[in-house]
């Protein structure tokens, strides 16, 4: 029975993909029928997502399965393979997209831009291509599906294509995606080592020289980094996420960024046989820089979706830090520690997929209810949208990395793996790595700041605009989507040992050791990745203890004292005139961060003069990478094309002269 189940898994995954494509085509048939698309097609797709997650989880511990699809060029079929790593990311795709698709069913309405049926097709093409990217087992299939994914998501980002800014954001995204794709293509070219066989099985068999292996590593870091948003290739994220509709932002941030992480792991742990330790330090450095950059900029944002986009950059940074650490340990053959670091990274991928999707969907509900994305015009929504507020609060706690949420577990695992670096043979690394740990801790603490700002300014305080009082809470399908992701965040946080058991076959396959396999994950209650004396954490016990103290305290206070409450006007030290404008704005809340990290920012301030009758204060924060990197590249490109332009004189005699000179030069060369 188990054999049949595992044999069928890859077929099952392909059936889900085919189902998604069929739903996409059905959407095309019902181009303007919002009710059909929203009430039927999207919920149906969510059921397929759940099925995919189930199939993937069943297949995960089993042996890898392969299939060949006769698509494409005559001698170049699609090779597909479902192993533990693919299965894990497929499960991630299924779990996150189930919630997002249900939400999307309630979210998309008739409006500007792409009609809902076409949107449904793009959306499902996007889902199907992501699943195929995770299944691909040769470079050809990988690149084709990778491009499909980029194009489908481009069309989704530019849903409201009548707005010029959104078209611009989509163009930037497409550009960075393609620069990255070129690097990935070159990476596969290096990996096949002149054999002409582009299957991953062949790449695994090759033993590259350290030089070429390092080239492959660098290209993969660049190529997948462009998709994941590693510094300095992150610039498309803060533009594309606010431009896209919220479910699309959730899908891109929660799932698509993870396909890039999947690629990084696939290339550097699976396809390249012998990693070098200094790759790990590069990944560590870049990851930490990305994380710090992301979180500092998130603290300065005033647009709620841009804030979340920068927060995604921060989380990708943390994931890459974990991968870097795993590469270092793997290079020194410290398998148990490599397994710990890799498991921390994978766990964080899963967590981020759920909580970031949840937060993006929460902003989607807020956007629907208020038509406002700017934090400066929101506030007090907890009273009008309690369901969205409480579910978002769970995402906020997870994103801030606080116990007993899921975000804390992965950060805990990551910090644990940092604490073992005293056993590294390289003395420089031994000294360097604790400094990285300090950086990671700083990022985690700053993430709390960002999340308090995010939640506090949107949901707490008083409404900053009159119209917010008319905001209506999410309903029906939107609620279901939010609840699904909230439950995911809670369960992943409370039962980490079960998750680590799922991750186990992957680390066994990638670095040769698992956490649970050697009896290290502890019993079901207690998470103890190395040994109980060394470190242990039990989120369930933690949660129940806190809850019971809270309840007992509440009961005792009521029993021995009373529960009398009187409502009155706020006290605020007795100031009589209080308006909503006296609260901190998003700019105000981010002001200490701007002050402390001033050298990071490119800020433009407009300060009012003291005699101004209608004073205006404005501060804009720009991404310094534009000026430091991109504008320079643009300037160099322009200068180079101007030089080329010198050749073009527009007169036929001059072009004939060029041909003549070239001929003479070639002839003289052949004479030599």
């Amino acid at each position: 029975m188990a054999q049949i189940a595992s044999l069928l898994a890859i077929d099952g995954a392909l059936i889900v993909v085919a189902g998604w494509l069929a739903i996409g085509v059905a959407g095309l048939a019902a181009l303007h029928n919002v009710r059909l698309v929203g009430r039927l097609l999207f919920p149906l797709s969510a059921l397929l997502s759940v099925a995919l997650a189930g199939i993937a989880l069943l297949a995960l511990p089993g042996t890898p399965q392969t299939a060949v699809l006769a698509i494409g060029l005559p001698d170049l079929p699609f090779h597909l393979r479902l192993d533990a790593l693919s299965a894990f990311f497929l499960a991630l795709l299924g779990l996150a997209s189930a919630g997002i698709s249900v939400f999307a069913g309630g979210y998309f309405r008739q409006g500007e831009g792409t009609p809902p049926g076409l949107l449904c097709m793009h959306y499902h093409l996007f889902l199907a291509s992501m699943a195929l990217v995770l299944l691909a087992d040769d470079a050809y299939a990988y690149m084709v599906t990778w491009e499909m994914m980029a194009l489908a998501s481009f069309f989704l980002v530019t849903t409201n294509h009548r707005i010029a800014e959104i078209r611009k954001a989509g163009y930037l995204y497409l550009l960075v995606a393609h620069v990255g794709a070129i690097a990935i293509l070159l990476c596969f070219g290096v990996l096949q080592a002149n054999t002409g066989d582009y299957t991953f099985a062949n790449m695994r068999a090759q033993h590259l020289s350290p030089f070429w292996a390092s080239c492959a590593f660098g290209l993969s870091l660049f190529g997948f980094g462009a998709k994941a948003g590693i510094l300095p290739l992150h610039i498309w994220l803060p533009e594309a996420h606010p431009a896209a509709p919220s479910p699309v932002s959730a899908l891109m941030s929660g799932v698509m960024l993870k396909t890039a992480v999947y690629g990084l792991i696939r290339v550097n742990f699976d396809l390249i046989a012998t990693p070098l330790w200094w790759w790990g330090t590069i990944a560590l450095g870049l990851g930490l820089a990305t994380a710090i950059f992301g979180v500092v900029f998130a603290a300065a944002q005033v647009d709620m979706k841009r804030l979340l986009a920068y927060s995604s950059i921060e989380n990708i940074g943390l994931i890459v830090v974990g991968l870097g650490l795993a590469i270092v340990f793997n290079a020194y053959r410290m398998d148990a520690l490599a397994a710990l670091a890799l498991a921390a990274s994978l766990y964080h991928c899963l967590n981020h997929a759920l909580f970031k999707s949840l937060l993006f969907l929460g902003t989607g509900s807020v956007l629907h209810a208020t038509h406002e994305r700017s934090l400066g015009k929101l506030g007090g929504l907890m009273r009008f949208m309690p369901f969205v507020a409480w579910t978002t609060l769970v995402g906020v706690i997870a994103s801030a990395g606080l116990p007993p949420s899921n975000g804390f577990v992965s950060e805990w695992l990551l910090l644990q793996s940092f604490l073992f670096t005293g056993e590294l043979p390289n003395p420089y690394l031994r000294m360097l790595v604790p400094v990285f740990a300090a950086g990671v801790v700083l990022v985690a603490a700053l993430a709390g700041y960002v999340m308090v700002k995010f939640f506090g300014v949107i949901f707490l305080g008083r409404p900053r605009e009159e119209k917010l009082a008319q905001a209506r809470d999410a309903d029906g399908l939107e609620r279901l989507g939010l609840a699904w992701l909230t439950a995911g965040c809670l369960l992943l946080g409370l039962f980490p040992v079960a998750v680590l058991e799922v991750i186990d076959p992957i680390t066994v396959a990638m670095v040769g050791k698992g956490l649970a396999q050697s009896g290290h994950a502890g019993d079901w209650l207690m998470l103890a990745p190395v040994s109980a004396e060394r470190a242990s954490y039990s989120p369930l016990l933690f949660f129940l203890l806190t809850l019971s103290i809270v309840l007992v305290a509440f009961a005792l206070v009521r029993r021995f004292y009373h529960g009398r409450v009187r409502r009155a006007a706020p006290w605020d030290c007795g100031f009589p005139m209080q308006t909503a404008r006296m609260q901190d704005t998003a700019e105000g809340f981010g002001q200490p961060i701007r002050q402390i990290f001033e050298p990071f920012f490119r800020m433009r301030r407009e300060l009012p003069s003291p005699f101004d009758s209608a004073p205006r204060y404005k501060v804009t924060v720009e991404d310094p990478m534009w000026a430091w990197v991109y504008l320079r590249i643009a300037a160099v490109t322009e200068a180079a094309s101007r030089l080329v332009g010198l050749l073009q004189r527009g007169r036929i005699s001059i072009y004939l002269l060029y041909s003549f000179v070239t001929l003479v030069a070639l002839l003289s060369l052949t004479q030599l």
Binding site: S536, F542, Y561, R564, A569
Partner: protein, 315 residues
């Protein structure tokens, strides 16, 4: 879970509940003496709590449920922190549920809730308090974790009980790494517990306050819970510091006599520590809010230095 451990756990809980306001009262007494004032009685914090619990709670019209839940959550977090820190004995059955990193997370959770609750009413002082609290938090939290990491590396365990047991068995010697960590820890605890030079617990000047601004809108039993939680936080930090840097006198498993001695030992250590705190608060002046990041960055760097010194010198 054995009876002995359960007993130690319950004792720790009761000692924390009763001891926290006492420590607060003791510090206030010492400070009054140092400032040539007549001191309030030692039990004054208990009277204050009792009075506040009896008063009715006045809540702003548009306060959300979060505002009413927050005091209980903060109180619960602080009490749990006191239960997992080895105050009297390292034989705590609940200690494996949370290690040093989870302890920092626990303080972070409490901070998140109190800050959100302060923003809930939407008054200018509340949001200002929340912003400042988060500012201090994001700088102090990493510094505190660096201190705990130093201790964890020495004992090669992040479990607080194991760490303290290992440190207690070492011969007495001033270790450079622990010296750096000790200074960093002192600075962090001053900031985290809203003491001078970062915040003034006795202030009533609106523009300078941090902790008081956070709880400005609370009254009655909610305020009582928050005040008790603040006392528990001071107690937890003091006990954590004493357990790491002066671990003598803390009982271990199956050592009944030591458990009897642990309480007086803790009382003496806390009395001395309270006097030191009062002295610091008397001789230092409160600093401007924008000097606080420098102060805490120094603490953070000292913590990192402690970690590096340990790795370089092995001490």
């Amino acid at each position: 879970m054995n009876v002995e451990g359960l007993l130690a756990q319950i004792t720790a809980l009761l000692v924390a509940l009763a001891g926290a306001p006492l420590v607060m009262g003791w510090v206030n007494m010492c400070r009054a003496w140092l400032q040539n004032r007549a001191a309030p009685p030692l039990l004054q914090p208990f009277r204050l709590l009792h009075k506040l619990f009896w008063k009715e709670s006045v809540i702003a019209h548009d306060a959300s449920p979060l505002f009413r839940v927050a005091p209980y959550v903060v109180f619960g977090c602080m009490l749990l922190a006191c239960m997992i820190i080895p105050t009297l004995s390292t034989n705590l059955p609940l200690a494996p549920a949370a290690d040093a990193i989870a302890l920092v997370g626990l303080f972070g959770l409490a901070r998140l809730f109190i800050s959100l609750a302060a923003m809930d009413i939407g008054t200018s002082f509340g949001t200002m308090g929340a912003r400042r609290e988060m500012l201090i938090g994001f700088l102090a939290e990493p510094a505190f974790l660096m201190v705990l990491f130093t201790a964890s590396l020495i004992s090669s365990s992040t479990s607080l009980a194991t760490t303290v047991a290992t440190l207690a068995h070492r011969e007495f010697a001033i270790q450079p790494s622990l010296a750096f960590a000790g200074i960093a820890f002192t600075m962090v605890s001053l900031a985290e517990n809203a003491r001078v030079p970062v915040d003034n617990p006795a202030t009533h000047l609106e523009l300078t306050m941090i902790h008081e601004a956070l709880i400005l809108e609370y009254s009655g039993r909610h305020l009582a819970l928050l005040e008790w939680a603040a006392a528990l936080k001071l107690f937890a930090y003091s006990c954590a510091g004493l357990a790491i840097f002066f671990p003598w006198g803390i009982a271990e498993a199956r050592d009944h006599v030591a458990l009897l001695w642990a309480l007086p030992a803790l009382a003496v250590k806390l009395a001395v520590g309270g006097m030191a705190l009062a002295l610091i608060e008397t001789i230092l002046a409160k600093m401007r809010i924008f000097r606080v990041p420098e102060f805490l960055a120094t603490a953070f760097l000292l913590g990192v230095l402690a970690l590096l010194v340990h790795l370089l010198l092995g001490a």
